[in-house]
Amino acid sequence: MSKIKSVDFVKKYTMIIVLIIVTAFFAWRTGGAILLPMNVSSLISQNAYVFILATGMLLCILTGGNIDLSVGSVVCFVGAIGAMLMVNMKMNMWLAILVMFAVGTLIGAFQGFWIAYVRIPPFIVTLAGMLAFRGLSNVVLDGMTVSIKDCTTFVNLFGGGADCYIPDFFGNGSLNMTCIFAGVLAAAIYISIQIKGRMDKVKKGYEVEGLITAIMKMVIITAVILAFTYRLAQHKGIPSVLIWVLIVIMVYGYITSNTTVGRYFYAVGGNEKATKLSGINTNKVYFLAYMNMGFLAALAGMVTIARMTSAQPTYGQNYEMDAIGSCFIGGASAYGGTGTVPGVIVGAVLMGVINLGMSLMGVDQNMQKVVKGLVLLAAVIFDVVSKRGGKLIAKN
């Protein structure tokens, strides 16, 4: 019995276990460098766009393994428009942000219309979008780089430049006390939600997981939160972009697991015909997935130009691949219907750790790509084979 349980445990937390092993491996190979405060902090800021895009990509993939190839170009296009508005046209920053969100969402709606209502394969529609918006970015920027260094509020708000951290309200020493407080608060909220949920379940007589497992899970996650915020506090504090990422994760985590709309994404990917015959407008579900992807691509566009403090026609290249890769590594099924936001985030972190670790080790850029490719392949092989009950070769 306990053996079966441990197998289930490994299955459920495979990617987290892999993440721990990979991190430990790089900590060993880099002499602990990967765990230095500066590196932990840059893991967040470097990969913020991946977290945001992967969350949106998950919704597309849930509907049946459909991907959006256009996000990299849309990120670039939205960033280009934003930079032009703020720098060349001196538009108010908040208005520019609104326009950027509107443009991203419209692009998503445009592509979503063809995919959902006309049923053009997503691969084709978004491939077209990928080409078109890359070209348009060039047109908007006239092939040039537009610096947004002087839009300091914007840059700080979206996590670029040197001061893109939440200011420290309390201390002034080497340790950022605001960050520590935030970490303790987050841990406390997490623990109280867990305890309340468990008590509710017990009160209503539902099944609960074993007490020891629950406590262990709680202790580990609390420790991770505290260690993580402590590391950030040792550097410069909470990067502002982390706030955006956390909002996206929490909002979409909630939508996918607790709302009717979220349920429909899974249902369509699980069995579209059955979903349709259950009275659900499946066209609308596809449409929402792609429109939302455009919206989140806009946010990623802001994060990208803020971090680079400029807009360039080459930004956002291969971003779609990072997002898609994170989803599949994070356990989303290539056929749709399964996958969670936390899983995808773990996948994105794993990719980030591998990137960072290899860079620190001084591995050649090209070899890094090879390793990332193999990790992606291995993750999907694992998913497909384990669903087939462990048989490697498909029945002929």
Partner: protein, 514 residues
């Protein structure tokens, strides 16, 4: 007496939860045409799948003795090597390949690395001549009619050096001329020494070509009639097909039938792809409060198409007709509107159209009425869980917990989850399409009890079923459907299996001569 070419001895095949074949015996003599007849789901196709190796050796019990030796086929390839070739009901030709390419698909002429097209086309032309088809081997399959395609299938079988030809419903999609040509070809091949097995519903055809007829019912062989010995009539065959006692396999109920709840008038539906094909032809019917109305007919009679087109136009094109619910005319343009008018359609294809197999029972149960367990689009998961547990207990679904994935349940329990899903949508009218297909007798009984309970609550049930005993045992009134039309209406009390069958077959015969 001629040599026995094929003998299938005590074949038993079980699927999870169902015994599809139970000690079936079949003897086929060399050079004869042997017909297999039986109702839908009697086990004819399963038996042929065992023979051809689709269900490999070891997944069934019993022996296949072919040409004097015991055979252990692991795949279709093995049986084809011995000369056993099966031609399935759905044609397996590739539309955008030529006749020649199709005939030698997987059996290419020439070398491994170079196909010899001259030989392919020459040999194809030869075989086309044998089957009497005057077409160029380089014509694309999509450009010839269904009747000719069927002949190509036979030519393809001959290309594999078939000694035993199995035809599963070969004339199902053919018109009368093409059917006649096909049957004559079978007789001609028999003259040349070919042995054939034909599965068919059309008894006039069976009595025309077959030397012997084996009747299968409920997964067992009932009898083998020999044309040379027995006097064969269609009535005699029907008796064998349906002749079983209806005992207390159906729970009793006191009918409390009220006013007309739903009425359909002059309903016409066309095929979504072949826009000229009328699938439902001027159908009018009604169902009353507290009534179970059956729709009987063979597969492909248009019953599912009728039901789905009523259910928010989920099937078909160019739908016309009137639909009244509680006396008011309604226009249901999509499933949402159908559900809002308290109509539910429980599909015959629970895996394909009904359930999300990779999701747990509770998610499937609430899917069509998710708003009932949520407020402001946020799902109340406790409520959802309770609903699922409620239905699990009410319908006696056997599962560990409602968190279990539906894909891991047996067919009967899947059917119950599907029923639970639609009962939770709180409909007044339920269309149940083959509600007991592929589930065992015990689970069937429980489904019947649920149906009785539904009508006792004043709901109306339309039951589509190919199983005559079920229709007779459960329905207050029976419509008989054939080729898209309603060809008869019987009160439950006056109906018998023979009467229904002759309605179906009789009309089929008239249609063909018309």
């Amino acid at each position: 007496m001629a040599k026995i070419l094929l003998e299938m001895k005590n074949i038993t095949k079980t699927f999870p939860g169902v015994k599809a074949l139970d000690n079936v015996n079949l003897q086929v003599e060399e050079g004869e045409i042997h017909a297999l007849v039986g109702e839908n789901g009697a086990g004819k196709s399963t038996l042929m799948n065992v023979l051809s190796g689709i269900y490999p050796y070891g997944t069934y019990e019993g022996d296949i003795i072919y040409d004097g030796e015991v055979c252990k086929f692991n795949a279709i390839k093995d049986s084809e090597e011995k000369g056993i070739v099966i031609i399935h009901q759905e044609l397996a030709l590739i539309p955008y390949m030529t006749i020649g390419e199709n005939m030698f698909l997987g059996n290419e002429r020439g070398h491994k690395y170079k196909i010899n097209w001259n030989e392919t086309n020459a040999r194809a032309a030869e075989l086309l001549k044998t089957v009497g088809l005057r077409e160029n081997p380089q014509t694309l399959i999509k450009d010839i009619g269904v009747g000719k395609q069927q002949l190509v299938e036979i030519a393809k079988a001959l290309a594999k050096n078939a000694k035993l030809l199995i035809l599963d419903e070969p004339t199902a999609s053919l018109n009368e001329t093409d059917s006649k040509a096909l049957l004559d070809l079978m007789l001609q091949l028999k003259e040349q020494g070919m042995t054939s097995i034909i599965i068919s519903h059309k008894l006039n055809e069976v009595s025309y070509v077959a030397d012997k007829i084996t009747v299968i019912r409920d997964g067992s062989t009932i009898e083998t009639l020999d044309k040379r010995v027995d006097k064969i009539s269609e009535g005699r065959i029907i008796k064998g097909m349906v002749g079983r006692e209806i005992s207390d396999r159906f729970p009793k109920r006191e009918p409390h039938i009220g006013d007309i709840r739903m009425e359909v008038k002059h309903w016409n539906v066309y095929h979504p792809l072949y826009s000229e094909r009328k699938v439902v032809d001027d159908v009018s019917l009604n169902v009353r409060r507290g009534e179970v109305v059956g729709i009987s007919g063979l597969m492909g009679a248009g019953r599912t198409e009728l039901a789905m087109s009523l259910f928010g136009k989920s099937y078909g094109d160019n739908i016309s007709g009137e639909l009244y619910i509680n006396g008011k005319e309604v226009h249901l343009n999509n499933v949402q509107e159908a559900i809002r008018n308290r109509l539910a359609y429980v599909t015959e294809d629970r895996k394909g159209n009904g359930l999300i197999l990779s999701n747990p029972i509770k998610i499937n149960t609430t899917l069509s009425n998710l708003n009932a367990v949520s407020s402001h689009t946020v799902i109340d998961k406790d409520k959802e869980y309770n609903v699922a547990v409620d239905y699990k207990e009410k319908l006696k679904t056997k599962c560990l917990t409602v968190e279990q994935n539906v894909g891991n349940l047996s067919g009967g329990n899947q059917q119950k989850v599907l029923l639970a899903k639609w009962m939770f949508a709180d409909p007044d009218i339920l269309i149940l399409d083959e509600p007991t297909r592929g589930i065992d007798v015990g689970a069937k009984y429980e489904i019947y009890c649920i149906i009785n309970q539904l009508v006792a609550e004043g709901k109306s049930v339309i039951m589509i079923s190919s199983e005559l005993p079920e229709i007779l045992g459960m329905c207050d009134r029976i419509y008989i459907m054939n080729e898209g039309k309603i060809v008869g209406e019987l009160a439950g009390s006056e109906a018998t299996q023979e009467l229904i069958m002759s309605h179906i077959l009789g009309t089929a015969g008239k249609e063909q001569t018309a």
